[in-house]
């Protein structure tokens, strides 16, 4: 479970500061598919990076499986990122001089189980329809294939949570649908998904939808059927009807 308690983040902006995230409270339960909606610059990516231990909040705490993430030493946070979290970014982020297989294997360098991961990488890439592309370089892959390799990479260490930042942002509608099906499939296999996007149409894939505006988070939809509230924000907006 990931829980953010009153986290805020400010960035220097000229002489003053710009508040990207304001006192956000959110709880993400195991196995949930959580979508965070917001326009460009709304603070949704900053929020995701704080939940994933990539950006340290100026205020508040992020608790991951009972551990206060930012109270941990770098080595421990890195270990959590390596073993329990998988990241998918808008761009594929593949290393151009490594093959698809080697790109998927990169996170295994940090989990300490490269031999197991080698078998796993072949399996995941094959299940994503990339069995023939194991030795292809990123320049030889299509946009959809690049994205699937990036998703495969996020799964290689078998993390419990996948954090996805605009994973379909640069894809056409058909490819977007394919990629979202893959992500939903991953969720159905028991992994928690936290995804940020500007595209409200993707809400239908998720259990809960949150909206971020000017750094303030509000829950919009809860399709999960659970009674437990998923958030409490300072400027909480009451739940609207299901979209």
């Amino acid at each position: 479970m990931i829980e953010a308690k009153g986290i805020s983040k400010r960035y220097r902006d000229g002489a003053g500061h710009l508040t990207a995230v304001r006192e956000v409270n959110i709880r993400i339960n195991p196995g949930e598919f959580v979508l965070i909606l917001g326009r460009s610059g709304s603070g949704k990516s900053t929020l995701l990076s704080m939940l994933g231990g990539l950006t340290k909040p100026d205020e508040g705490r992020v608790v991951f499986d009972g551990e206060d993430l930012w109270a941990l030493p770098d080595g421990r946070i890195s270990r959590i990122r390596a073993e329990k979290l998988g990241f998918i970014f808008q761009f594929s982020g593949l290393i151009p001089t490594l093959t698809a297989f080697d790109n998927v294997m990169v996170p295994s360098l940090f989990s300490g189980s490269p031999d197991i991961c080698a078998q796993r990488a072949t399996g995941i890439l094959s299940s994503f329809g990339l069995a023939e592309k194991l030795n292809s370089y990123p320049s030889q892959l299509s946009g959809g294939e690049l994205k699937r390799v990036a998703i495969a990479r996020s799964l290689i260490n078998d993390p419990s949570v996948i954090l996805a930042d605009e994973p379909t942002g640069d894809l056409d509608v058909n490819t977007e649908k394919t990629i979202m099906e893959y992500i939903r499939q991953i969720n159905h296999e028991g992994k928690t998904i936290v995804m940020v996007t500007h595209n409200p149409a993707l809400s239908r894939y998720s259990d809960k939808v949150f909206r971020v505006e000017d750094g303030i988070l509000s829950e919009v939809t809860d399709n999960s059927g659970t009674q437990e509230p998923g958030l409490s924000g300072r400027n909480f907006v009451s739940k609207p009807a299901v979209m």
Partner: protein, 401 residues
């Protein structure tokens, strides 16, 4: 499929920037090449002097004052020369306190392109009774002393045992060949003192040009000092008490060679220092550029679980690998060039030279490569620290724009 290794990550990163890597490697080639060349010349000369003086077997060599330069040239490079002083010098030296043995030698430069001579070489006549430098070698290698009409040649001669050499119209049979020393004796031929005198006496009729040497004249006195005696003091005493003499010791020769080499080594050291000073900011800049270009990639590694230490290690390893490659190439190329052009280099510098011992050479090669690696590592240190401290998500997002 083979699991990915840390080295694969480093190698793939190096592959992405071939031109900049070549530029950096060239810097390291120059740095290590000049460093190794400096050691090669200094170490080779030092080794040659040590081996040569040891082979010579004398603690002090006394030459005529007015032929000091010619005498030193005979000793260091084997440049043929003829000079003499009175043999009474040898008697005076032999009587001095601290002198255990004193053996005379006579130096005769032979003629070039003359029917009477095999070629222009340095002929050295030694006294078989008093000699303590050539005779021991002859006994151990030939199992007998040298006979009249025989010659022992230095390693620079192509003649083999049994062949005949002609000097001033007189034939000498080659009895053996000395091991290389890098000094003048490699280009010298050794005969018995009486043969030298009789050859000189007959030269007016047997040779194109006569040798102006008469019995009772000698060119040098080789001295072995008594155990515990101070060689430098004895050399100084000889200079003070026997006018017209020029004593030479190992220290003197070593400092002479060093001063001879100093101009060359200064140039080489200056080149090394200049290249290092110019290259260091260049290499630091390249490391910074590479680290900046890799910001997103490094940030992605952080997102995937890399620790700060891993990022530091990755950036540093790339710089170290390039430095090591440059260092290896540098020592390889300079070693090959020095090996191929050794005669030309040594000939133009007019200095004694003997390849430094293999062990010492390997140590120097290792040190040279380590210096290159240290310079490369130092240049990449700040970029490596900066990269390890970058804000991962910020770097990833900046890379997306």
């Amino acid at each position: 499929m083979r699991p990915l290794k840390f080295s694969d990550l480093v190698i793939q990163s190096i592959r992405q920037r071939p031109f900049r890597n070549i530029a950096t490697i060239l810097c390291f080639i120059v740095i290590t090449g000049t460093l190794l060349s400096t050691y090669f010349l200094v170490g080779g000369a030092k080794n040659s002097v040590e081996v040569g003086m040891d082979r010579l077997g004398a603690d002090v060599l006394v030459l005529p004052q007015d032929s000091a330069l010619s005498g030193e040239a005979v000793l260091l490079t084997g440049k043929p020369s003829t000079f003499v002083f009175a043999s009474s010098v040898q008697d005076q030296i032999a009587r001095m306190e601290g002198v255990e043995k004193a053996a005379p030698q006579i130096y005769i430069g032979t003629l070039q392109n003359a029917a009477c001579c095999t070629g222009r070489v340095q002929l050295i006549g030694f006294d078989p009774i008093l000699d303590f430098t050539i005779q021991p070698w002859l006994i151990s290698e030939l199992g007998r002393p040298l006979r009249r009409g025989e010659v022992v040649v230095g390693s620079g001669f192509t003649s083999e045992a049994g062949s005949v050499l002609t000097f001033y119209g007189k034939n000498f049979t080659v009895a053996g060949k000395l091991d290389p020393s890098g000094m003048g004796m490699d280009e010298s031929a050794f005969i018995m003192l009486d043969d030298a005198y009789s050859m000189a006496a007959a030269s007016s009729s047997d040779a194109i040009a006569p040798v102006d040497i008469r019995p009772g004249e000698i060119s040098a006195v080789l001295i072995r000092v008594s155990p515990g005696a101070d060689k430098e003091k004895i050399a100084a005493d000889i200079k003070d008490t026997i006018p017209g003499t020029h004593p030479v010791t190992l220290n003197y020769i070593a400092s002479k060679v060093n001063s001879q080499l100093s101009a060359t080594t200064q140039v080489l050291v200056s080149i090394t220092a200049a290249v290092t000073l110019v290259s260091f900011p260049f290499m630091a800049l390249i490391s910074t550029m590479v680290a900046n270009e890799r910001r997103r990639e490094l940030a992605l590694l952080r997102a995937m679980g890399a620790t700060k230490g891993f990022i530091f290690k990755t950036v540093l390893a790339e710089a170290l690998a390039i430095a090591a490659a440059g260092g290896l190439l540098g020592v390889g190329i300079s070693g090959l060039l020095l090996y191929l052009f050794e005669p030309l280099i040594i000939g133009s510098l007019q200095m004694p030279f003997l390849w430094p011992p293999l062990g010492s050479l390997l140590v120097q090669v290792t040190i040279t490569i380590l210096i290159a690696v240290a310079v490369g590592g130092a240049a990449a240190l700040i970029p490596a620290i900066q990269s390890s401290n970058l804000e991962p998500y910020d770097a990833i997002r900046r890379g997306e724009r």
